[in-house]
């Protein structure tokens, strides 16, 4: 699975600052357990895929993994040994912009112990600090 938008308005984007905490996408919505980011950062499509693969190798058949973030942002880079100037580089990879509090993955259909172990494996692939969270009680 290659995570990348199908259609975009512009090929390249500016880097921009990541300010504040997540005000949306910050609660467990689809599963019973979630993996929450505690730092701001960029998660590349490759890292997200690595997390998904490590989980799918470990999860039993009845477990369902949901990826809550999507790499919408293109990141450019200049070729090596190139002089500065001559315009912005070419898009190299795609990233998901993550704020503290964002839920990255969700799991359902399995018990807490397996969910913790699965998220522990995913956490090793993530470039940000993460923690295990559970769905809140309905009020």
């Amino acid at each position: 699975m290659r995570l990348m938008p199908k259609r975009v308005k512009f090929r390249k984007s500016q880097r921009q600052k990541i300010k504040g905490n997540a005000t949306r996408c910050n609660t467990v919505a689809f599963g019973e357990f979630g993996l929450q980011s505690l730092e701001p950062g960029w998660i590349t499509a490759q890292q997200l895929e690595a997390g998904r693969v490590s989980a799918s190798h470990y999860l039993p058949r009845e477990g369902k993994l949901t990826i809550r973030v999507f790499p919408h942002k293109p990141v450019t880079s200049k070729p090596i040994e190139t002089r500065m100037g001559k315009g912005k580089g070419e898009p190299e990879f795609w990233v998901a912009v993550v704020k503290p509090g964002t839920i990255l993955y969700e799991l359902s259909g399995i018990n807490e112990e397996i969910a913790r172990q699965t998220f522990n494996r995913i956490a090793h692939k993530m470039p940000v600090k993460v923690r295990f969270v559970q769905r809140r009680k309905t009020v």
Partner: protein, 215 residues
């Protein structure tokens, strides 16, 4: 469901600065409203409320200035990073008057479809009901033991409970069982593909060619 006692005090502190002080002192700001009476700003002990929340209680008997009032926990706001409650809404209720609220759904039993190797998807985690405050169920249990492969269970299929009216759409799906689909390998074309740019302007040569085609 059990009705728990909760002590609260009236508060005069308003605004983010005063409320921040209140929270650092281990208290939670709250508000009590409803029944065409004035709103009352309250504060209560954090540990006392979290204990009530963990029991799964939806109704509480609030003691404010030696006056007791029955209230429904209408909304709980969380700080999702500090993982603590930051505000509570209480709604006054009459024990003889019906209330509307959302109750969690629990799936009971192992379905035939799962035994056959299917995957269970719990779509609707909670549903809206109307009932008397004394008859609020802790959860609604849905038996899925006879749910086969490719089958779904709807709200209309839940057996009726005495004194409880289901308000969620009758056709809404609660759970479904489907076959596990194996992932397809990514082709090389997909890997090398670039996204379509929707604001891309056609080049001069292309534009001229297009106009010729139109004429």
């Amino acid at each position: 469901m059990e009705i728990l006692e909760l002590k609260a005090e009236k508060r005069t502190a308003k605004g983010s600065k005063a409320i921040r002080k209140l929270r650092s002192a281990g208290q939670i700001p709250a508000v009590l409203y409803g029944h065409k009476q004035d709103n009352v700003m309250l504060c209560l002990q954090e540990h006392a409320f979290t204990h009530v929340l963990h029991t799964g209680a939806r109704m509480v008997r609030l003691t404010v200035d030696n006056k007791k009032e029955s209230a429904l926990i209408k909304e709980v706001q969380y700080d999702n990073i500090a993982d603590r409650v930051i505000h509570i809404d209480f709604s006054r209720i009459d024990l003889d008057e019906k209330v509307r609220l959302r109750v969690p759904i629990e799936l009971v039993g192992e379905s035939i479809g799962v035994k056959e190797g299917g995957m269970l998807t719990h779509v609707m985690k909670d549903m809206e009901i109307e009932c008397l405050p004394t008859a609020i169920p802790e959860k609604i249990k849905v038996n899925i033991s006879e749910l086969g492969m490719g089958k779904v269970i709807h709200v209309k299929e839940i057996p009726a409970m005495k004194g409880i009216q289901y308000l969620s759409d009758a056709e809404s799906v609660i759970a479904s069982i489907h076959q596990i689909v194996e992932e397809k390998a990514v082709s090389e074309e997909e890997i090398l593909a670039e996204p379509e740019i929707i604001t891309k302007k056609p080049k001069e040569g292309e534009e001229a060619a297009e106009s010729v085609e139109k004429t």
